[in-house]
Symmetry: C2
Subunit: 645 residues, 2 copies
């Protein structure tokens, strides 16, 4: 590669890009196929469905009772009933029976007096047609049962069946070619992918999105970074599919061939859209035998791919399939933290939202375009329009729900210090349909969020240097001005996470400083960082004596991963993080990990379920198996009283 | 059969029935199965999905540029740049490349000055970790990627794939046995079902509903009305399925075996619920090897079956599958007509709704429990609680959307006189994503609805006896007090619909009266009935000289069906209705069929599309092929000016 590159990427505003692309695409031709009724569920009718038979196809009795000729009941009244002979003048019928010959009405069983001598008495005249379902009452043969362009629901299918029709002409689903490119891509099933190999998760992402949109995903073998190979793969896709998606290579680097091959087979309409993530999109159209085949070059970062697909691929599939866009649940959420954004780009921010009191609170998550897991964890998406530089905390904004409203409404938000055991707790209460959504911000930021009613729960472990005790002082200083409940989760070991075999023989922080071991720290206000500072002060070690004191990671497992990889020699963290990454561990301290919440929230049944789970042997055993946890007091609750002043 | 029957049906209020049944059912055991990623779309995780690999699984460059040791940039500033040798001290990298050994930061290409001598100048120090995606930045191996009880979206599947996992443990879908019973049932594919045979549309209905709810539908061969046969079918279903549905035989008649066989294999908890339609429901539970198998006896009328399934079967499937109920779109609709209802039953009324000005107007449809086509045509469902005797016209009520909100919002309501050609018009404009929903109430009621702004369009053909002209007088009398536009649809023939071969040799209404031919009439205020009365007056024939003048049907095809079936000898109606039913036709009059609407609505682009369609040769030809239509003036618009007073 070379530092010089073809820069022909011009970021268009989203609306302009849409207009250019969809304007050129127009309305794809309507193509249909005939399918059986159950296969037609959720498909769209290509033309009206016409009844083959009338429904009912005979005059049917609509009540249990007797069928009569209405003329025979003329003049009947209370004092002068008409008496009819059963079997000849009055015929016993059940609902659904054909109306007997010479009868034109049915009298309900409740209104018939059986006289015991084979006759019945009728005390009121009946009009012709009473309680009779005439031929075609519901549908007449040759009438339209279900109109064109209807998405077929079960009742539609039943209505069609009731008229003797077993096949429906529905709109053909578009076949979407998914071409993934890149020398470095490997399948998720590869046991040990080599360093530098990128696991192809976009193939799954795009195929699943196409299915969700209502198309048929056709995946092709991965293509290496070679223009000629990509061109021949594109030709095959153009011959076999209605829509072509190429992922990735949509940018303007030396190995980004997408725009070039599109230009060789069709017209490139858009290269670059002012959105973040997702800006290096290529949109074009190829023509094959009078048909327009949309070409979409989707960027490689997974979050970019998901967002671009939603903006451009979904409407394409919907146009071919004649589907309405699904109803999107719009939420009004209040931002728990300020979001920055750059002018000139529409920015899509993933967030977790939960209801706290009368508002939906949203915590923004990691914003890297590569963090597909953060997109998976998100339950809503906030758009910052391109003329805004950001949004202040406390602002109410519109967000698009990424999960069902019910799931968002029942979510419990846990914001604060990260502990892997939280995942086990979440799994335990998930069985009770309680969902814990979390954002990792560190202990103190969690307590501040609790004070502002921005979270239900704050996971916390903050050492008070003066008293040597945990959490109470921090709650008084940063937490809510009302009674706080602390639910004990576990006593856990903090210590040095070191490479397997502890090659530098590190036994203490002093060793770390003296041997200039490469260290990685946690972010400010993280409980573990506060512990580090207290320990350094106690030992009389200056912060800058640690190489890497300023290098920051945000989670226990994050620092352990750096140790495991050899990027650093050590970090302070919990034993469980060391053990999941295969690192060694030198214990230095024990600390309680507690869940802080407003005392009044102890009434919330979801909190009660959490406490119950913490008392259960299953969860305790599972957490202790992580290593370094003592759960013998899990679920104990103590109250930190608000200071009255 | 006998008139006496076992009456042990007791209608419980809906909430009591639910509590009894779902309380006894409890939470079904969680069972899971392992499926590939794309098969897991929309499934629910049975347990947390744990990362096999970290993502990324190596330190990766997050920008195109150069990788450096951050320590080498210390002290760099604008006036004193640090110069690094390319290839050794500074390595060119692309996004996604592994971070080269001895490097811990990446500098963006835009911030690097190439000096042309194989070196680059750096003008600011960089911190360690800059533009580096550390191992596990997104997910760390052994961490939870996706929690338990999550409905899997494409982003979740991609997040799972990105951690090297290719299979997911998801909640098993419940298998629902669908047993349809009844001697009279025949398959929809039967070419000519015998009189009395009922086309089994409920099998399709229930199977499609189970699929929609998230279960697996297992259909069994139809069972005859025989207790022993039903019992053995039930035993097979109990052995093979998680849930058993029997349809029908859920009432208390002599051939209604459902409750009896349920009682022999389990416990019947509910027999009869105070809902309409749908009250004869049987709900029970069987036990097989420590498992509870819910038993549902669903009534046979299709609309009853659909409503019962929604109330009882859907929650059962959702409990097994651990699915949230789908978000239901709630609408506020204003009732266009009064609905009556009986005290003591929750009643479900099908309706068509459309937006007119600032409100959603809803027209109730046919209420027979057998009219599945009316349920199919409905786009919303109104519930009348059991303590109400009805709802007045003009009342705003909550309704459940049966189609997407978008489809309801774009619907055009056509209420008034029935004409089969309307279906062809609807199909023509459906291609432009315009949906016409209609309710047939007759010409005058349509004009009254137009005056009250209860409909967009009123199909009309009303003869003024004084002037002998159509529609203008009726619009002045019943229509809106503002300018009305009349869009000409067709000139059509009205006449006598008679049996094939015209066996009674009827040539005129006088023949009908003199030969005492059995006649069927249209409802009051229908344009055809007004025409009849005018013709009778002209000919000097008394109304009661017609046998059947008081017998009423609501549509042209409805009367033709009675003629075709031999129930009556003749009726007045349009030629097209006669021809679709294979009847003969004796022309008597020609009349314009016109679409009335507010003149100001001519600006509505949907109306413009209708006018354009009426001008098209395709639609005109199609309508004229029905027989008896002359479309040469279709699409012409005239205005009936409001009378100023």
């Amino acid at each position: 590669m070379t530092l010089a590159r073809d820069v022909f990427l011009v970021d268009l505003p989203l609306e302009d890009a849409r207009e250019r692309f969809f304007g050129a695409l127009g309305e794809p031709p309507l193509e249909s196929e005939s399918v059986g009724l159950l296969d037609a569920l959720d498909r769209v009718t290509a033309r009206p469905v016409v009844a083959r038979l009338s429904s009912p196809h005979f005059h049917a009795c609509a009540m249990d009772g007797i069928a009569v000729a209405s003329s025979a009941t003329r003049g009947a009244r209370e004092g002068a009933p008409v008496v009819l002979r059963l079997g000849s003048e009055a015929k016993e019928v059940d609902t659904g029976d054909p109306l007997p010959a010479d009868c034109d009405a049915v009298i309900m069983i409740e209104e018939v007096e059986e006289r015991g001598d084979g006759t019945v008495a009728i005390r009121a005249p009946v009009p012709p047609g009473q309680h009779v379902r005439g031929i075609g009452e519901d549908v007449v043969a040759s009438e339209v049962v279900v109109g064109a362009r209807r998405r077929l629901r079960p009742a539609d299918l039943a209505a069609i069946a009731s008229t003797g029709v077993c096949e429906v002409e529905v709109v053909r689903r578009p076949r979407v070619a998914i071409l993934t490119t890149g020398d470095e891509l490997v399948d998720p099933s590869v046991v040990e992918p080599p360093r530098g190999a990128i696991i192809d998760s976009n193939g799954v992402l795009l195929a699943a999105l196409v299915m969700q949109y209502g198309g048929i995903a056709q995946r092709y073998p991965r293509v290496a970074d070679d223009e000629a190979l990509l061109l021949s793969a594109l030709d095959r896709a153009l011959a076999e599919c209605d829509v072509v998606v190429v992922n990735a290579g949509s940018s303007a680097g030396s190995e980004d061939f997408t725009a070039r091959v599109f230009a060789q087979r069709g017209e490139v309409l858009v290269h670059g859209v002012a959105i973040r993530p997702g800006h290096p999109v290529v949109l074009g159209i190829a023509r094959r035998g009078g048909r327009k085949i949309p070409l979409l070059g989707i960027p490689g970062y997974p979050v970019s791919a998901a967002i671009c697909a939603d903006l451009f691929l979904r409407p394409v599939v919907e146009r071919f399939a004649r589907l309405d866009p699904p109803a999107e649940e719009e939420l009004e959420v209040v931002l728990a933290r300020k979001i920055f954004s750059s002018l000139g780009e529409d920015e899509y921010v993933r967030a977790v939202a939960a209801r706290i009191d009368d508002r939906l609170v949203a915590f923004p998550l990691q914003r890297g375009a590569a963090t597909i897991a953060a997109l998976s964890r998100a339950n809503c998406l906030i758009t910052i329009p391109r003329f805004q530089e950001g949004i202040h905390a406390g602002t109410a904004v519109r967000a698009r729900a990424l999960r069902s409203r019910a799931a968002i409404e029942r979510a419990l938000l846990a914001v604060g210090s990260h502990d892997v055991a939280i995942d086990l707790l979440a799994a335990a209460v998930a069985a009770k349909n309680i969902e814990i959504v979390s954002a990792n911000v560190g202990s103190i930021a969690g307590l501040v969020a609790l004070a502002g009613r921005w979270t239900h729960i704050a996971g916390t472990h903050v050492l008070d240097p003066q008293s040597g005790t945990y959490n109470d002082a921090a709650i008084r200083r940063y937490g809510p001005r009302e009674d706080v409940a602390l639910i004990h989760f576990a006593q856990r070991e903090q210590g040095l996470i070191v490479a397997r075999g502890n090659p530098l023989g590190l036994r203490s922080l002093r060793d770390v400083a003296e041997r200039s071991a490469r260290f990685v720290n946690r972010q400010k206000d993280a409980g573990t960082r506060i512990l580090l500072d207290v320990l350094l002060t106690r030992e009389g070690i200056a912060a800058d004596a640690l190489v890497g004191y300023d290098r920051i990671e945000f989670t226990h497992v994050g620092v352990a991963a750096l140790v495991a990889d050899g990027s650093v020699d050590c970090a302070l963290g919990i034993r469980a993080a060391a053990s999941v990454l295969g690192c060694d561990f030198v214990p230095i301290a024990r600390e309680p990990y507690e869940l802080a919440l407003l005392a009044r929230d102890l009434e919330d049944p979801r909190i009660a379920a959490i406490i119950a789970a913490l008392h259960s042997k299953e969860l305790r055993d599972e957490v202790e198996r992580l290593g370094g946890y003592d759960c013998s007091h899990a679920g104990e609750v103590r109250i930190v009283k608000a200071e009255r002043n």
